[in-house]
């Protein structure tokens, strides 16, 4: 009887190890973000003299020049932050609105057909780097370079597949009878869509919307390509702190933390649906 406790103890230990593994990197980052310059290289887990300097520097990047002569960061973090918000929100709205209509058509009438649907999957499955080149050329020609409109359009196009697949899953689950009943009572198809389906499908809209927001907020590659000075989004800014600025560890930790708050909040709002999102609605937890 006693022997059967041993595996349980081992498992408990392993789980603890895994918990530590999961928590440590971020805990270190949080602690680092509050450490003053002198403590960045110390092995202490907690800052001896916690400070908000790292965060302050994010808002007044001129202060960075204490450390390095030249800095590629010329704007406070509020700029990229707001831009990321705007881009993500608008892109999400476009994606879920168009996605909703498409999902409804696909679910009830098979228009667009499975071929188109599969094609939308491709936009997400193929490496974005592979169409980065023409996008850059195309957008520049259209004047959408370094312009948040460009990012908004691009993000809507590349995330709409999530909206379609996730919402199709939700709509498929709604009994068709309700719409048929409404149609028989003389309602027009559009009315049925807005008055019968939309209210019930709202959770689907919320879930896919939040998930798409997450995807748009965290996107780096295209943001790097399509922005320069005016349209810099938060992920780009974060990367600049590491690649262009050098060994400003505390500040890097600070901005990384800042950029994580919103995604983590959203992530926990939809935690039950994360798997559904990442698998395009194929797996419904």
């Amino acid at each position: 009887m006693k022997l059967s406790i041993l595996p349980k103890i081992i498992i408990a230990c392993l789980i603890v190890v895994f918990i530590l593994w999961t928590l440590t990197p971020v805990l270190w980052m949080i602690s680092l973000s509050f450490k003053p310059y002198g403590e960045w290289r110390t092995p202490h887990l907690l800052p001896q003299k916690p400070t908000l300097d790292n965060y302050r520097m994010l808002f007044t990047p001129q202060a960075l020049q204490i450390f390095i002569a030249y800095t590629a960061i010329i704007e406070p973090v509020t700029g990229p932050l707001t831009r990321s918000l705007i881009v993500s929100i608008i892109a999400t709205l476009i994606a879920i609105i168009i996605g909703f209509f498409t999902a409804y058509g696909a679910s009830r009438y098979n228009t667009p057909g499975p071929f188109t649907l599969f094609f939308t999957l491709l936009t997400r499955m193929l490496p974005p780097a592979t169409f980065l080149t023409p996008i850059m050329v195309y957008f520049t020609t259209l004047g959408l370079f370094d312009n948040i409109a460009g990012l908004i359009l691009l993000y809507s196009a590349t995330t709409i597949t999530y909206a379609i697949w996730i919402m199709k899953g939700f709509i498929d689950a709604i009994p068709v009878e309700w719409e048929e009943a409404a149609l028989m009572e003389g309602a027009k198809p559009i009315e049925v869509l807005f008055k019968v389906v939309l209210p019930i499908a709202r959770p689907g809209l919320v879930v896919s919307g939040l998930f798409i927001f997450l995807m748009a907020w965290t996107e780096l590659l295209f943001a790097l390509v399509l922005t320069n000075v005016h349209a810099v989004t938060l992920p780009v800014q974060i990367s600049k702190y590491v690649t262009a600025v050098g060994a400003l560890w505390g500040t890097q930790a600070a901005i990384a933390l800042l950029g994580s708050i919103i995604p983590v909040i959203i992530g926990y709002m939809i935690q039950k649906h994360l798997v559904t999102g990442f698998t395009f609605g194929l797996v419904r937890a």
Binding site: F101, L126, P128, A129, T130, T133, V283
Partner: protein, 295 residues
């Protein structure tokens, strides 16, 4: 529902989508094909639609481009290490979390947060983590190796740099594997597990002979999706190692990015992109045939 879609719905369901996709993605795709067969760079001083025809010279160049080949093989190696690792770790954790216990929901909520972080942030975190005076050197290895630990420069050694990227990816995406496997395993009908219990099977045996086989399709989806995602790896490489030391950790996405942005070698970048696209599509086709045959 009536077979034919009413016109209004049909328009709503297809027109906006078509405008968006065609306008934003399809047109550039056509441009990419054009560019791949032309020779153009913004440094040439002419507009891209005025670029001279270059036949297949870009493609020929790609096949003898050792940097391209090594980027491809390195990315493939990366995927073949990272995905199995994440799968096994995720499976192990799903196995360990099988029983009911207090606070299980909170534990799971805690374990999945890496998925929610922007990859840039994860990259930054591990960049800080593997600094010479970062915790990996300064704390963990210090206890094992003493002073020598401070001389390990993770990002300056080709293999070690790759290891850091692997660790970053595994750290962020193991919870994904875990979640899929865990939700699949939980969905196995309780009756079957009870039947197996009564017949005398141990928890271990039930896991391997009943639960796992029943979630095979799920496992497949998880592996395929994760592999496709891993192929795209960019954020970690860009932020943590910059492809270095030298080009030792340059993934295919980073290489294309550099071709286009750094070297401004647009038409070649386009050609390389097309080759990669074709390669992925062919491999997926082969994989699909392979799996359909298995059924």
């Amino acid at each position: 529902m009536p077979e034919k879609s009413p016109r209004s719905v049909k328009i709503l369901a297809t027109l906006p989508l078509n405008i968006l996709l065609n306008g934003v993605l399809i047109v550039p795709f056509a441009i990419m094909i054009y560019l791949a067969f032309a020779k153009w760079s913004p440094l040439m001083g002419i507009n891209w639609w005025e670029a001279p025809f270059a036949a297949i010279s870009n493609f020929q160049r790609a096949f003898s481009d050792s940097r391209f080949v090594s980027a491809l093989s390195r990315t493939a190696l990366f995927v073949s290490i990272v995905v199995p690792l994440e799968f096994m770790l995720g499976l192990a954790i799903a196995y360990m979390l099988q029983g009911e216990f207090k606070g299980k929901k909170y534990l799971i909520a805690l374990l999945i947060y890496p998925l929610m972080l922007p990859p840039v942030v994860v990259a930054t975190v591990f960049y800080l983590f593997f600094q010479p005076y970062g915790p990996v050197n300064n704390i963990f290895l210090y206890y094992i190796m003493g002073e020598r630990a401070l001389n390990i420069y993770w990002f300056l050694d080709p293999s070690l740099a790759l290891v850091t990227i692997i660790i970053a990816d595994v750290w962020q995406w193991t919870p994904f594997m875990f979640l899929i496997l865990y939700s699949g395993l939980s969905a196995v009908p309780k009756r079957l597990v009870e039947a197996a219990e009564i017949l005398g099977a141990s928890k271990w045996r039930i896991f391997w002979t009943i639960r796992l086989p029943l979630i095979k399709p799920l496992i497949l989806i998880a592996l395929v999706l994760r592999s496709l995602e891993a192929l795209k790896v960019f954020d970690y490489v860009y932020v943590m190692t910059g492809g270095g030391p030298g080009i030792a950790t340059e993934s295919i996405s980073l290489y294309i990015y550099r071709l286009a942005i750094l070297y401004q070698d647009i038409s070649y970048a386009a050609a390389v992109s097309i080759i990669v696209l074709l390669a992925i599509m062919i491999i997926s086709r082969v994989a699909i045939y392979f799996f359909i045959e298995k059924r």
